[in-house]
Subunit: 242 residues, 2 copies
């Protein structure tokens, strides 16, 4: 889809979107034993931002988030959870929006609400890192993964949003089956443990972690994985279809 069409779409219908409401997505991936977040580099600004967008008048908020996710990753039916609304009075979005818009899209200033304070619904998404095709939107130049530990300079209150998303992920780690969305189809027990350790930022014991995971009765043990290393080959697992 050509970028200019997106902008035209954006401005075409005066009342296409719910004003002053946006959706921001914290997209988590797991690669090389590290938790990553997908971010957009804003045009002509030394700032990065979360993938986000407006909610169409005829669209549910969850659908808006799914649409935004699909546009940035190429994936459909992504695991998605609403986790918090950011709407404090001092969200100083005005200066940012002004900077972003005035450079390339001064036309959008005709919508007065574009410059007002936003209330943003935060979603977090879990994706299989290897399947994502990062795609920038019409406000951004690049779309890239960043390691959670080394985030770049972020626009708005997006650093706080990412932080809150991670906290929510930690709390829900046990009740939701986080692993099944962040890992590829098959994986070793060490990879699963490594994911938990990365999210929780705490080391876990191999024996107890394995016992716990197997007792949950959610994993299927497949064949062994021969890595070529000089040691016992680990089993591969997959999540049971429920």
């Amino acid at each position: 889809m050509p970028i200019m069409n997106e902008l035209e779409d954006f401005l075409a219908l005066k009342h296409r979107f719910i004003p002053q409401l946006s959706v921001d997505c914290v997209i988590f991936g797991f690669h090389n034993q590290q938790l990553k977040v997908l971010l957009l580099k804003l045009k002509n600004l030394d700032l990065w931002a979360l993938p986000g967008g407006y909610v169409e008048q005829s669209e549910g908020i969850d659908d808006a988030a799914q649409r935004i996710l699909e546009e940035r990753t190429g994936l459909r039916d992504i695991y998605l959870e609403q986790f918090r609304v950011f709407g404090s009075a001092d969200r100083s979005t005005k200066e940012f929006i002004q900077k972003i818009m005035e450079v390339h899209h001064p036309e959008s200033m005709n919508e007065p609400w574009v410059l007002q304070r936003y209330v943003s619904i935060g979603y977090y998404a879990l994706v299989d890192f290897s399947k994502v095709n990062p795609t920038p939107d019409f406000l951004s130049e690049y779309c890239e993964w960043f390691e959670m530990k080394q985030l770049p300079k972020l626009a708005f209150d997006h650093r706080e949003i990412i932080q809150k998303a991670l906290e929510t992920l930690r709390i829900t780690l046990d009740s939701k089956l986080i692993g099944s969305n962040l890992l590829p189809e098959t994986f070793t027990m060490m990879e699963l443990q490594s994911l938990y350790e990365t999210i929780l930022e705490t080391p876990l014991r191999r024996n107890n972690f394995q016992r716990k995971m197997l007792s949950l009765d959610i994993l299927e043990r497949i064949e062994k994985l021969y890595t070529g290393a000089a040691n016992k080959a680990p089993y591969l697992y997959r999540f049971k279809k429920s």
Copy 2:
């Protein structure tokens, strides 16, 4: 505050509120061993609704919720948690709003967004039942407590919102100190247990519940409560100031 002033305030400033965004509060109280919710009877309609309202342009969403809570209960600094946003495409608010507004406040129809679909941020609040002074707003005739088990006919998707609030309350029961907000200053162990049983809808064992609560080291044991009944008098407790 006279009711008419509220309406005038409401319509005075064209751009006072964020359009199509509302806040709905599920206010929980505990009385006679029962969990209660505060509801408003809509004027000229056989329907009840959650206390709610719009968010002012210069106001944080949490502040909006606190303001609404204060108006309906007379209480300040209420315990409050955001729990979910309701914004599916098929929230059929339009017919309701039309019915409500056309009877008494057709002027408000001049704001076109008043009739559009709303995205509503759900909050739940915990209050000391005995301290609340229920006060209707300009759209409602009465403001009353209802037992969770016997809710009346509700407007919009408010029944679903209440249900989700209760589910969230159950999940967070252990991590947040729910009791300290729903109970009066002092209480017996049985009253605390009864609160837990009501929220969880499951019976608990007296001995194990007491052991658990005391082990948390959050309760202070005060004097005994002589009820006049022919049996051992229970201790009174209060939550420790932290």
